[in-house]
């Protein structure tokens, strides 16, 4: 059973960390080999799991949903009310009970998401989070100086736009719905989805205007 013994696990960490080879790939190999040889994990399970995961989840799920919300106001309303149910209309593999909340940017409000305690993210829908999202720098700084952090992503917010930082500490997960950029009238949903980035769904990017073609 789980011991719930805080000092015991702290001691194990120190012992393992000081005696294992430093290279993460070697540490991982030891972990995987032992768990498979013990029969705790099946031999080919890891590859299978990764294939399934990369097939069903990823930032495109969110991009498709946001493109639909931009073109269908009724859908946007459903997304605001019950995000996972709306998601499952577009991506059937998404669990309708997934505790997801969509927060919408407006001309006056900009949302940005963080998990200061451990890097929680809607992994079951949007795939792995960017590495900067898991960095100590982002976790420490964005709740205190969101405007400064956004500037590092090239996002300069006018003073009149209110910043709302969401610190995701519970089982709930957050996704930002950016505003539809100007100059996209008549675009297909597919083309619109192509504009939505992972950073925009976290809120470190605000403006998704299509890049002007040179010349």
């Amino acid at each position: 059973m789980s011991s719930y013994d805080s000092d015991k696990v702290a001691k194990l960490h120190r012992e393992l960390h000081s005696h294992l080879p430093p290279e993460p790939a070697l540490r991982l190999k030891a972990l995987e080999t032992v768990l498979v040889e013990k029969g705790f994990l099946a031999a080919d399970a890891v590859d299978k799991w990764l294939d399934d995961y990369s097939e069903n989840v990823g930032p495109m799920n969110g991009a498709k949903v946001i493109a639909r919300a931009w073109t269908d106001p009724d859908f946007a309303e459903r997304l605001a009310k019950h995000a996972a149910e709306a998601f499952s209309e577009i991506v059937p593999s998404v669990d309708k009970d997934y505790p997801l909340v969509a927060v919408f940017n407006t001309p006056d409000i900009h949302n940005v998401v963080v998990c200061t305690l451990c890097s929680c993210y809607p992994l079951g829908i949007l795939g792995m989070s960017p590495s900067w999202y898991k960095s100590t720098e982002y976790r420490a700084r964005v709740v205190r100086d969101p405007r400064g952090v956004l500037t590092e992503f090239g996002t300069d917010l006018p003073e009149k736009v209110e910043v709302r930082v969401w610190d995701s500490t519970s089982d709930r997960r957050y996704m930002v719905v950016p505003e539809r950029p100007e100059g996209t009238d008549g675009w297909t949903e597919e083309d619109l989805a192509g504009l939505v980035t992972r950073n925009a769904m976290i809120g470190t990017t605000r403006d998704l205007s299509p890049k002007q073609e040179a010349g």
Partner: protein, 212 residues
């Protein structure tokens, strides 16, 4: 416990790394992808086998990394260590087996598995619009009450619904209480915020709050 994992508002950190990271790859390295897969499968198995394992206990295991390692290691390096520690703690493997990189036997037996226990849920004390103050002190082993909101005044923005209290779940007891989004003015959190209209929204359990 107030360990270094509670990073919100800590100052002196460098600029955000890898801001231009490409969206197209789910994982930047193969070993990170495999670490992730192994962790997800192991967690599912421990839950199915009802060993008493919970995600909040696992979070606490991560929090008990030595502080310098917690701040210095990559996210997935921390997970490799935490999965090894978890395997030893559950009786699945021994420390020496990880040092050797191979198992000394082809079977394992959980050390006296004990499923989590349910405790009666507690009543909700707040509703949207209520003025609250975050508790100043908390003595539990694991908590999701961040340091930077403690003792600060806020307003209940919305009611989320009941969730198991992490402080109890980390020690194997499921006790549901109401959770809320609580809104704090930046000006009430940080001395340099001045009269900024910006705000911080954070999920909070009922027992983390007091009426203002």
């Amino acid at each position: 416990m107030d360990t270094v994992h509670d990073l919100g508002g800590r100052q002196g950190f460098r600029p955000i790394p890898n801001v231009a990271e490409d969206d197209s790859a789910l994982f930047s390295d193969e070993w990170k992808a495999r670490t992730w897969a192994i962790a997800m499968m192991s967690m599912k198995k421990l839950t199915t086998d009802r060993t008493g394992w919970t995600l909040d206990w696992y979070r606490h295991v991560l929090e008990r990394l030595p502080p310098d390692a917690y701040l210095g290691l990559d996210y997935f390096e921390k997970w490799i260590l935490a999965m090894m520690v978890t395997s030893v703690d559950e009786g699945v493997a021994g420390v020496q087996e990880f040092f050797d990189g191979r198992a000394s036997s082809r079977t394992f037996e959980y050390e006296s598995p004990r499923p989590t226990v349910e405790a009666p849920p507690t009543g909700a004390r707040f509703k949207a619009g209520d003025k609250v103050v975050a508790r100043r002190d908390i003595a539990t082993m694991h908590t999701r009450l961040t340091g930077y909101v403690r003792g600060r005044p806020g307003v209940v923005d919305s009611v989320i619904g009941p969730q198991a209290l992490p402080d109890k779940k980390a020690v194997g007891t499921i006790r549901r209480e109401q959770t809320y989004v609580v809104r704090f003015r930046m000006a009430d959190l940080w001395p340099e915020a001045g009269d900024s209209a910006d705000s911080l929204q954070i999920d909070m359990w009922d027992s983390y709050l007091e009426p203002a």
